[in-house]
Structures are given as C-alpha cells and as structure tokens.
Amino acid sequence: MRRAKAALLLLLALAVLMLVAFVPSAPSIAVEPNEVLVDPVLEARARALSKNIRCLVCQNQSIDSSNASLAKDLRVIVRERLIAGDNDIQILDFLVARYGDYALLKPPIKPTTYALWYGPGVLMTLGFFAVIVFLARRRKIVRPDPLDAAEAARMVQLMDQDREPTE
C-alpha cells in the first residue's frame, strides 16, 4: 500500500515537471519597428519564418529573437524576399545555400539526419522490448514449478520439525 502511494506521488511530481517544461516562456522579440511590414499577412509569415531561422552569431537564438546585426540583416532579407513574392521554401533554400542546414533551427529530414530524427525512437523501442523480455524472464524465475507430492510431503515434514522446539 505504501509503495503504491510512493509511486503515485512520483508520477504526480513527474507530471508537474512536464507541465512546467511545456509552459511556453514569454517570447522575446528583437524585430525593430522600422522592420515591420505594412501587410499584416506578410509580416505574420515573416515572423513565423524567422522563428525557425538560426542566428549564426548567437547560434541558439532565432533571428526573430536575436539583436545581433547579422540577425537584423537576415530579417530584412526575409521580408524583402516575401515582398518579392518568394514562397517560404524558396526563402529557406536561399539561406541554406549560403549558411548550410545549420541556418535552420529544425534540421531537415534526410539520410544524413535519419540517426538524429529516428535514433531516439529506435532506441526507445529497443529499450521497451528489452524491459518486456527482462520482466517476462523474471516472472519465470519468481514462479518455480509447483512441488510434486513427494516434495510437498517433505516440506510439511520439515516445517513440523521446525515448529516443535519452540512449543
């Protein structure tokens, strides 16, 4: 009963941790007023695109949240190309051609990144099966073959022997 309670508590603590981890932190914005496009639709596309483009100077920030001068230049280029009528893929391709896949905060799925994208899933599945096999084997060990008649009789005899001196 106590173990069940402890397990429940642990689960609850984990759930709270995960909730905290997934609450989005307040987004920091570096877009300057004079960069903002008049057309709200294009501006929204620019913001969405910028969030997935890495600032090559600060490297773990998107150009949408970075104050670096290169990030500003890239934001302006994204907007210029939107106005010129480029679609989202053309804009990202423009940056990838110059800065490599590293310019994208979300790496593309291709043969060289299969290990990155699918590796964790494969490991998790393997681990899952390993745990199942382990548990199945342990159950076998915990439940030995039932005693046959002779063994049962011998056990009763042994237990009776033990009991006598204490009485």
Binding site: L56, V57, Q59, S69, L70, D73, I77, R98, Y99, G100
Partner: protein
C-alpha cells in the same frame, strides 16, 4: 557469452564518449561552422573601391590566380590580431590578398588601414553586408581561398594564425595552382 551482454552498455558508452571527446581534445571550436559555399562560385557583385588609389572588386577580379579574400572591418577586434600576419603575407607576395570591408564606415576603414598598414591588392566596400551574406559570412574576420575559376575552396573563420596559413592555406593554394595549370 551472457557476461558479454553486461559489458555491452559500458562499451557503447565508451565509444560514444570517445566520439564526443575527440573534437574537444583536439581543441576544435564548436562555434566554427563549416562553409556551405565550398566549391560554389564566389558570389560577387561589383564592390566600389574603398580607396581611390586601389581598385575595388568585381565579378571578374577573382579569376586568373588563386587568391585569398579577407572580410575585415575597423570595428572588428580580432581583425587587428591577424593584421600583422596579413601584412607579412602581402610583403612575401606568395598569394594575392583581396579585402572586403564589411559593414564599415569608409573613413574609419581608411584610418584603420593608414594606422596599421594596407596588405590588400584590391579592397571592395560591402557597406550593407549583403555580399557578406551571399558568401555565408557570420563572424569577422573570415578568410576565403578562391581558385582560378572563381570558386570558393576554403574558409577560415576568426583571426588567421601563422600555423593555419602555413599548414593549411598555402598547401591548398599550391595544390589549386597546380590543378588548373
């Protein structure tokens, strides 16, 4: 056989640790990015000259010989560090050295060169940094090796060291010269 299974996780971990430790022990800077422009034509729209006494850079300036193209700016601290080496390279005349003055005020750049010396054969002005973006520049100084056909063959990010120049760049320059002859 069963024993081996218990050692397997340890071996896997050791392999992974060795894989991750190697670049750290070799002193590689994880912030240095590989260039996506290797083997691509160096993009060059006409860049106006920084100095009236020296030509700027244009689409045709990067053919002929193998050359180094150095992105620099007067506001860039590390550029000052590599400058003496650039002066020596220029004095030795082993390889043409071209400069791109990146997002800099012209007067500041001219003063900077007057003070520290001018190692470049040509200097183009990239005032808005667009040429830098075309080349994939992200952190000054950057030095590129451009072959005779005008293709980028190598990029070095950060101040150039004598070791990098002598052990990596010059052998590459010589190799490229032989290739195209």
């Amino acid at each position: 056989m069963n024993r081996l299974i218990y050692i397997l996780p340890l071996l896997l971990f050791a392999g992974l640790a060795a894989y991750f430790a190697t670049p750290i022990l070799q002193g590689k800077n994880p912030h240095t990015l590989p260039s996506a422009m290797i083997d691509k034509p160096a993009p060059l729209r006409p860049l106006e000259p920084l100095l009236s006494s020296k030509p700027g850079l244009g689409p045709t300036s990067l053919t002929g010989d193998v050359q180094l193209v150095n992105f620099f700016a007067s506001w860039c601290g590390p550029c000052r560090v590599e400058h003496p080496l650039l002066m020596q390279i220029a004095a030795a005349k082993t390889v043409p050295l071209y400069g791109v003055n990146y997002k800099d005020a012209p007067e500041a750049a001219v003063n900077w060169l007057a003070q520290l010396g001018d190692p470049f054969e040509r200097i183009g002005r990239d005032g808005d940094g667009r040429t830098g973006i075309e080349w994939g520049v992200y952190g000054l100084p950057e030095t590129y090796v451009v072959d005779r056909a005008g293709r980028i063959q190598y990029r070095h990010v950060g101040p150039l060291s004598r070791q990098t120049f002598e052990e990596t760049i010059m052998p590459l320059v010589n190799r490229l010269r032989e290739q195209n002859e």
